[in-house]
């Protein structure tokens, strides 16, 4: 699989990263380098090998169903560029 400039532009758009058109060529090149490395990894036969999810054997940590957090509207909204009446205020998005 090879990444061209239009694919690079699409990925940038999906990730909401602004990339100037003249930078797309180099970006596509870098992607291809990464994908080339992954293709190399794909050559290893891992048939029947469980994907490793943790270096040491661990069980997913659980929490109890108890309310221990919240009630901090001011803190939650503190970094918002705009907040009104307890809400985040963002440019209008309507379906």
């Amino acid at each position: 699989m090879s990444i061209d400039e239009s694919t690079a532009a699409r990925v940038a758009k999906l990730a909401r990263i602004k990339v100037e058109p003249e930078a797309l060529g180099a970006l596509a090149q870098e992607f291809n380098g990464i994908l080339g490395f992954i293709e190399q990894l794909n050559e290893v036969d891992v048939e029947g090998v469980e994907p490793m999810t943790s270096v040491t054997p661990q069980r997913l940590k659980r929490r109890e169903d108890v309310v221990t957090d919240g009630d901090q509207q001011d803190k939650v909204l503190k970094n918002a560029p705009d907040a009104r009446e307890g809400f985040f205020a963002v440019p209008k998005v309507v379906e």
Binding site: R62, R63, E64, G70, Q73, A89, V93
Partner: protein, 503 residues
């Protein structure tokens, strides 16, 4: 399992301009798990709180915050799976579904695409006419709910409330086994009933605790059977997904409207595009959600913040052992043990409160009579006051008392209705009320006989007519009942009137 057997309902057919069409429907139901705290944070799930007050930094996606799973949510998902007779996957895993929207601060939703916690199950959907459809469930997975955007508080801004962000949803995905709008509504009703029995979701559609995405496609008669045989989707039409509906009525309308739209396209020589659509109940049309299409590349990948979720068979077995009696079993038992009709049993098992109330009333009494009083008198009266059974002013013991008085011939059926109204509005012990207010049925034949004689003596013309035409005897019975204030035992009156007239 069931003593009840059903025929399969006929699929809905819609006549196009050229020929008939059938509908094929699959549903994705989002059910909010009833839990105190969110799926991955300790913030409250309470509905209707001050905006952004039930938000932990995890929910607001502050940098460095890590999700820790709420074990109770897992238990509720497993319980739901068991309730739908589904296989439980002892190992499941979480994935990130990436998209940008203001009410999704993480930029991704944590969901379970590749390894859901619950596999294949089923829901028996009764249609109320002796037919039922067995709808297969493909999977149930857990995921985070998004926040809420409000668009009508300011002309230029949208307001975002993250209170709902991160609340645990179960997405219950059906196979395309639903064959009409009524079946779709019945499926959702049944699913809601099961979840409420299980206590895993409150089923409140108004508050959005339960909402559905509906996949609709059309096919020619015969095509669906070919799909069933082969499980090959190419026999079916291209589907469109109608998003986010939380009204039974609108779901049915939307399916019908969408099917007709697709029929018009196909009969006009066009092809249906697979896309996401929204239903507009005002205009009664569905329309494309283009923005959704653009973002459709969700780039799922395993969430590196969460290890796979491994649960133990013992734990699952314990949950299975604690399952309540479910609607199908309860209904079958009501039919079997109380001699109820299928319909009455359905009405009484619609929710746990009704079923429990009925069982209390029916205990040691005639089941059919108890069902009649609960359904016709009590439910009718509650409906008039827009009250639900949990707030009934008449307790099961009181209603049972009324029924006992009828059963022992102490009061007539007609008086019983008056008595019920008194108990409903004023309260009190039915037997004491009957005693205090002299409502007891007159079974003393001497007193009734006197009343009959009096009426006969006063109406010689009627007597002559009644002797010609025995059907007119009813008039005398009515007169006697009136004269005795409804307290005479109707059976005794009937007998005496007949005897005297023919006497």
């Amino acid at each position: 399992m069931l003593d009840l057997t059903y025929d399969t309902p006929k699929p809905k057919r819609i006549a196009g301009a050229k020929h008939d069409w059938e509908l094929v429907i699959g549903m994705e139901v989002h059910a909010q798990v009833s839990s105190n705290a969110k799926l991955f944070s300790g913030a409250s799930t309470k509905f209707g709180a001050e905006p952004n007050s039930n938000v932990a930094f995890v929910d607001a996606a502050m940098p460095g915050m890590l999700p820790v799973i709420n074990e109770y949510c897992v238990e509720q998902a497993v319980r739901t799976g068991l309730g739908l007779k589904a296989e439980i996957n002892l190992k499941s895993a979480f994935d990130r579904k990436n998209y940008f929207y203001p009410d999704l601060p993480q930029g991704y939703q944590i969901s379970q695409l590749y390894e859901p916690i619950v596999g294949e199950g089923e829901v028996l959907v009764e249609m109320g006419d002796g037919t039922a459809r067995l709808v297969r469930v493909e999977r149930i997975h857990m995921e985070q709910d998004a926040g809420k955007s409000i668009h009508d508080m300011d002309p230029n801004m949208s307001f975002v409330d993250l209170n709902r962000t991160g609340v645990c949803l179960m997405e219950i995905v059906s196979r395309p086994d639903i064959r009409g709008p009524e079946e779709a509504a019945a499926y959702l009703t049944k699913l809601r009933q099961i979840l409420r029995y299980l206590g895993t979701c409150n089923g409140d559609m108004q508050s959005g605790a339960m909402r559905a995405d509906v996949n609709v496609s059309i096919c020619r008669p015969g095509d669906y059977e070919r799909y069933e045989e082969t499980q090959d989707f190419s026999h079916l039409g291209t589907r469109c997904e109608i998003k986010n509906m939380n009204s039974m009525r609108f779901i049915q309308q939307a399916i019908e409207v969408e099917a007709r739209r697709q029929i018009a396209i196909v009969e006009g020589g066009g092809t249906v595009d697979q896309e996401t659509r929204l239903y507009d109940p005002d205009k009664q049309e569905t329309r494309s959600m283009r923005s959704k299409e653009e973002a459709h590349d969700y780039r799922y990948f395993p969430d590196p913040d969460l290890l796979p979720l491994e649960i133990e068979q013992d734990w699952v077995d314990n949950i299975a052992a604690s399952l309540p009696e479910l609607p199908d079993a309860k209904k079958a038992r009501f039919v079997r043990d109380f001699g109820l009709s299928d319909y009455d049993a359905s009405v009484l098992t619609a929710d746990l409160d009704s079923a429990g109330y009925f069982e209390d009333v029916a205990q040691g009494r005639d089941g059919k009579m108890a069902a009649n009083w609960v359904i016709n008198e009590l439910f009718g009266r509650l409906k008039k006051d827009e009250k639900d059974i949990a707030n009934s002013p008449v307790s099961p013991a009181q209603l049972g008392g009324v029924i006992d008085l009828i059963a022992s011939d102490a009061i007539s059926g007609k008086i019983a209705k008056d008595l019920f109204e008194i108990v409903y509005t004023e309260g009190g012990d039915p037997a004491a009320i009957v005693e205090d207010r002299g409502m007891k049925q007159v079974t003393d034949t001497g007193a009734i006989e006197a009343a009959v004689d009096e009426i006969i003596a006063a109406n010689p013309d009627q007597v002559a007519k009644a002797q010609q035409n025995p059907k007119l005897a009813g008039w005398f019975v009515g007169q006697v009942m009136k004269a005795t204030g409804g307290k005479a035992n109707p059976k005794a009156v009937n007998q005496l009137v007949a005897k005297k007239l023919n006497g």
